[in-house]
């Protein structure tokens, strides 16, 4: 996927200044999600659950080669065709070949960030396959030709009125339809698509090694339909999605739902072992699992960032993030946005490609408190910042200013002198000329220094 990450600052600024409705929709939706998440955490011993989940994921990631081969073996025993894709191009190629071999004309899709990451839809369309997104939010965005703006609620940046206008224009629904009527209009189109599609494409929340089970969580039922009605099902699964045991799912299904939406569990969970062979089962004849690397082994090799591979894609950190809330996901310029994007993208894409995301954070720490697998996001952001500094990826003025600060701060005499000069210049407007403060002053009144420093007050005596 072509990224526009390097444009983050400009696009975020533009979004805030010219699209206030995006900020309003995103803020409202994420605060509501976050409140539900907090309540759902309070209901259980969230601290213990999160530590447990962290430990299971760490165990899995430090034994990943074993679990990958075990999963492959089980999947094949279940009759699933397993494919390995080193990068996005291979993954696309694998899926288009499966489609070609299966004489697929139409495909329905469940929401999957991985398929966004590898740009799957354009590749399928290029070989003449009609692809329809079936998650309601993704469907809205497909009609608009926009990428998702949130891992979980891809269209949270759209207001009811925007969806009304879109559906009235494209589906002929009533221009004043309520959400129920709008959903009904979409259901009408999509129900037909489910019944006629040749292929269903999904991601995978988890892949259980001991049973070869692909687990999928959702609320709408579109994933159950996508994996049940078409004769071919393809699940694209990142190699970090492994879990050792079926019973591990018990904790992870509950924790993911609580973190994501505050529910005890998703309305629908599919535990998929393979193609339908037993009597009474009307499921797919062919099931394929594509194991995708696409930069994940680079992240795994990183001494710190590997912890980001514990990510469940629940979106809790986005909902908790006051930076994300101001713009939504589009400003970040890549499918993984918000706090997790800011630590994952540098690992997946290379730090240069992901600048300035490690700096797009006030380091407030709300993301860590929300994260169900305790990814130390603030610490990882700092780690990427250090690497950016080492690689000279930050502006020279900034580096010079910080080097200057250190020189002054380790020489008390010089520090005091600089402080007194600052106090005299303060309020004169001279401070505006200091490097980088111009931008600060565009949005804020510059602070007025105290007339006398504390040091001076102390010397005179404090009563």
């Amino acid at each position: 996927m072509r990224t526009r990450i390097n444009e983050y600052t400009a696009r975020a600024t533009q979004a805030i200044r010219s699209e206030p409705e995006v900020r309003e929709s995103v803020t409202g939706a994420t605060l509501a999600f976050d409140r539900k998440r907090r309540d759902a955490y309070t209901e259980v011993d969230a601290d213990e659950w999160r530590r447990w989940a962290e430990a299971v994921k760490n165990h899995t990631l430090t034994h990943l080669d074993d679990y990958l081969t075990q999963a492959e073996e089980r999947l094949e025993a279940n009759g699933v065709q397993v494919h390995w894709a080193a990068d996005a191009a291979e993954a696309r190629d694998i899926v288009t070949t499966i489609a070609d071999d299966g004489l697929v004309a139409t495909a329905v899709k469940g929401k999957s960030m991985l398929t966004e990451e590898i740009d799957l839809n354009p590749a399928l369309e290029a070989v003449g396959i009609e692809v329809l997104e079936t998650d309601l939010g993704e469907y809205i965005l497909q009609l608009l030709g926009e990428p998702p703006s949130h891992i979980l609620g891809p269209a949270i940046h759209k207001s009811l009125q925007q969806v009304r206008d879109l559906f009235a224009d494209r589906l002929g629904s009533a221009p004043d339809g309520d959400p129920d009527a709008l959903a009904e209009a979409a259901r009408h189109v999509l129900r037909d698509a489910f019944i006629h599609a040749d292929m269903g494409i999904t991601g995978g929340n988890f892949l259980v090694a001991e049973t070869g089970t692909v687990a999928l969580i959702e609320n709408e039922g579109n994933i159950r339909l996508t994996t049940s009605l078409p004769r071919v099902h393809v699940a694209l699964v990142g190699i970090e999605k492994l879990l050792p045991r079926m019973t591990d799912l018990a904790g992870f299904l509950q924790l993911t739902a609580r973190a994501a939406t505050g529910q005890p569990i998703g309305c629908f969970v599919s535990l998929i072992q393979g193609p339908a062979t037993q009597p009474g089962d009307d499921g797919p004849e062919e099931v394929h699992v594509v194991l995708v690397d696409n930069g994940r082994t680079d992240v795994l090799a990183h001494p710190h960032a590997w912890e980001a591979l514990r990510c469940l894609r629940c979106g809790a950190c986005l909902n908790a993030c006051p930076v994300y809330r101001q713009t939504g996901g589009h400003a970040y310029g890549y499918v993984y946005s918000g706090p997790i994007g800011s630590v994952l993208d540098p690992g997946l894409l290379g730090l240069h490609e992901a600048m300035p995301l490690p700096f797009a954070s006030s380091l407030c720490g709300a993301c860590f408190d929300a994260c169900p697998v305790r990814i130390p996001i603030p610490e990882l952001l700092l780690e990427w910042r250090r690497e950016a500094q080492d690689q000279g990826l930050t502006p020279w003025k900034e580096r010079a200013a910080l080097a200057g600060l250190a020189s002054v701060a380790t020489r008390p005499g010089l520090y005091k002198l600089a402080g007194r000069i600052g106090a005299r210049l303060g309020g004169t407007g001279a401070a505006r000329a200091l490097p980088m403060l111009g931008e600060w002053a565009r949005e804020r009144a510059l602070p007025k220094p105290s007339r006398r420093t504390f040091r001076e007050l102390w010397r005179e005596g404090i009563e």
Binding site: L64, G137, Q254, I265, D281
Partner: protein, 197 residues
């Protein structure tokens, strides 16, 4: 059958092995101990209805078919044709015409079990997926004594020979993708009714 393009499988596995080579290999922490409800049936009812599901209790299998027929006829939108899962025994089938799932007013299934802590119905795919997913109303029989307190117990007790797919249904189909307002019955059933034997 696997496809391994230009040795991708080996390349990925060796990269994984290299990436984790020097790292401390940590242990699996074992099972997560979630609380056990004193009364799993009551907990199931609370959780399932809390998510928008509906529960009917105390309808034994004796006159089940008769009761179900009356229940379906009495719904707001009277059901005249039903879809029935392949594994639903004769005594649990309503006395109504059986039609294709896409045209049925209700789908009738039998759960393998229910789970209290998550309010979930466990549905094997041998019970015919279209029946579980396409009709606007889904009615699920839960056999007596088949309510597990915890999800982990239920997953542990799944048969060794797993069906192609196991579905957990814990609520009607929902979405909040349009203006952050919750709508039900988007793709799957808009009503999900668990009947506890």
């Amino acid at each position: 059958m696997s496809t391994a393009r230009a040795g991708s499988r080996e390349r990925i596995l060796s990269r994984v092995a290299r990436a984790t080579a020097g790292r401390e290999r940590t242990l699996h922490p074992g099972c997560l101990g979630t609380p056990v409800a004193a009364d799993p049936v009551a907990e199931f009812v609370k959780r399932f209805t809390g998510q928008g599901g509906e529960v009917v209790e105390g309808e034994g299998t004796q006159s089940a078919a008769v009761w179900l027929t009356g229940f379906l006829r009495g719904l707001d939108k009277e059901v005249t044709g039903v879809a029935v899962g392949a594994d639903v025994p004769a005594e649990l089938r309503p006395q109504l015409p059986v039609v294709a799932a896409a045209h049925a007013g209700a789908g009738i299934s039998v759960a393998w079990a229910a789970v209290a802590e998550t309010g979930s119905l466990i549905l094997p795919s041998t019970g015919t997926r279209a029946v579980q997913l396409l009709p606007p109303v889904h009615i699920v029989w839960v056999p007596e004594g088949r309510v597990f307190a915890r999800l982990e117990e239920a997953l542990r007790e799944l048969p060794d020979e797993l069906p192609a797919t196991v579905g957990l249904h814990s609520a009607p189909s929902k979405s909040a993708d349009i203006g952050q307002t919750v709508v039900t019955g988007v793709h799957g059933p808009g009503r999900c009714i668990a009947v506890l034997a």
